[in-house]
Symmetry: C2
Subunit: 272 residues, 2 copies
């Protein structure tokens, strides 16, 4: 079993007792410096709706708010479909630990129809293939970056915090699960949180950081995800603004063929 | 009283009965074709947390999911602070009408500290002042665009749905409340939803549309909002992707002096 599948493996509570409850746990393979990688937590929250017997369609939007540090151990997920329409469904999801709520999420699921479609954003062009680039060294890093094969074209994690401020924080990289795993909604949600904090790229300076809110729009449907399979996707991320303890990040995840799989945005707390 | 203040005027329920409940109503001055302008609904959801006696700090992130059409009339708002930390607070907010949940929101509030700050996004340069541009004609439009003074530099609402597809959907405009009103968090939340649907700009073709999820990151604090006062702010919006019934929009709201007040993103349902 792939460690990511282990990490998002949830057990449903007996329906008669608590119809909307699932139990999961943090996984050592996706540990961060302290507690778990937020991407796995986001994927668990999404997965609780995916597994829910009343689920309609596929996810189109997910917002995860990280309310408190997640402790290593069990997580109780409460997923409520608060409104189900003909082709859309709205969810409120909470993640609880002993101490209280550690994360919340809202999600929109939908049954999609084929329509006129077009990519208006511009994918970086003339990129070398992943095979032509080296994988980012992960020695000495927490567990979670070791679960990704990242090959940077620009904006790599700084090799030293030399405090040489850069003109921008943009990163462009090929990324996939390590070991390989076919892309699905849960792993796309986790990938949305896999960009290193923009302030490290920009400032090359140590800082305490923590994502407070993460939004992902899933442009890909199941068929498009299947086309990507286990290959690398192209990630692009940058910050727009840093001010008084918070900065934002906007990112894109592209298929090798130039389809925008997801656009993703987050707001991050920082303290230098 | 300004019509926007009337629109976001909420009555708290008697604390002993329902500590987290407020009642508001749709306002005819912000009517859309059918039901209210989504920006006012977003502002009401935010306002229910702003008015809550347990509120900590100022909003930094807001996500509103539009779950069902809002009917003209009363809206019951239930705002729960699900986690309060030392300097951050996490909210789940629901808007109810007779039929059930019509919108949900999550919000992050925070007590900010001064830190290193920088705008990394680029504000369009060498723009004419609002006074040098004409206000968008609002004759024949629904009520809500009449409550904004919009002065377009590019990407105006099409004067005819001539089905001449454009190469992009970008809009740049000066915008303020009409009549003038000093900018605050509630009006910034509403402004985040004031960009016309990108597909109209791009396709110049009639379509049914409906925002399903709207996220706003508030980079401005109260002091910066006060500096803007009643003046126009610069809005910039574009779509990234249209696919199988949904497109996204990413937008920025800038102070005249070049501070990024908010970055805002939404996912929109469409059917041509």
């Amino acid at each position: 079993m792939h460690p990511f599948d282990e990490a998002i493996d949830l057990r449903a509570s007996a329906l008669s007792q608590a119809p909307h409850e699932f139990t999961g746990a943090t996984h050592p393979a996706y540990a961060n410096m302290v507690g778990p990688f937020g991407g796995t937590t986001a994927a668990q929250l999404l997965q609780s709706a995916m597994l829910h017997p009343e689920r309609l369609g596929e996810p189109v939007a997910l917002t995860v708010n990280f309310a408190a540090p997640v402790a290593d151990g069990d997580i109780r997920l409460v997923a409520r479909p608060v409104r189900t329409n003909r082709s859309t469904q709205h969810w409120i999801i909470e993640a609880h630990q002993a101490e209280g709520v550690v994360a919340t999420a809202t999600a929109v699921f939908a049954v999609r129809r084929e329509t006129w479609s077009d990519v208006e954003a511009v994918m970086p062009a003339n990129l070398p293939e992943p095979d032509a680039l080296s994988r980012m060294p992960v020695k000495g890093m927490p567990a979670w970056p070791q679960r990704y094969d990242m090959r940077f074209l620009e904006g790599a994690f700084p090799t030293a915090f030399d405090e040489q401020e850069q003109t921008h924080s943009r990163s462009t990289l090929w990324v996939r699960d390590e070991p390989e795993r076919a892309l699905d909604f849960a792993s796309l949600a986790a990938l949305s949180d896999s960009f290193f904090p923009r302030i490290y790229i920009r400032r090359r300076r140590r800082a305490m950081i923590g994502t407070v809110s993460l939004t992902t729009y899933f442009h890909a449907d199941r068929a498009l995800l299947a086309q990507v399979g286990t290959r690398h996707v192209l990630g692009v991320a940058k910050a727009l603004n840093y001010r008084h303890g918070y900065f934002d990040q906007t990112g894109e995840l592209w298929s090798p063929e130039g389809q925008l799989l997801a656009s993703t945005h987050q707001l991050v707390y920082f303290k230098e």
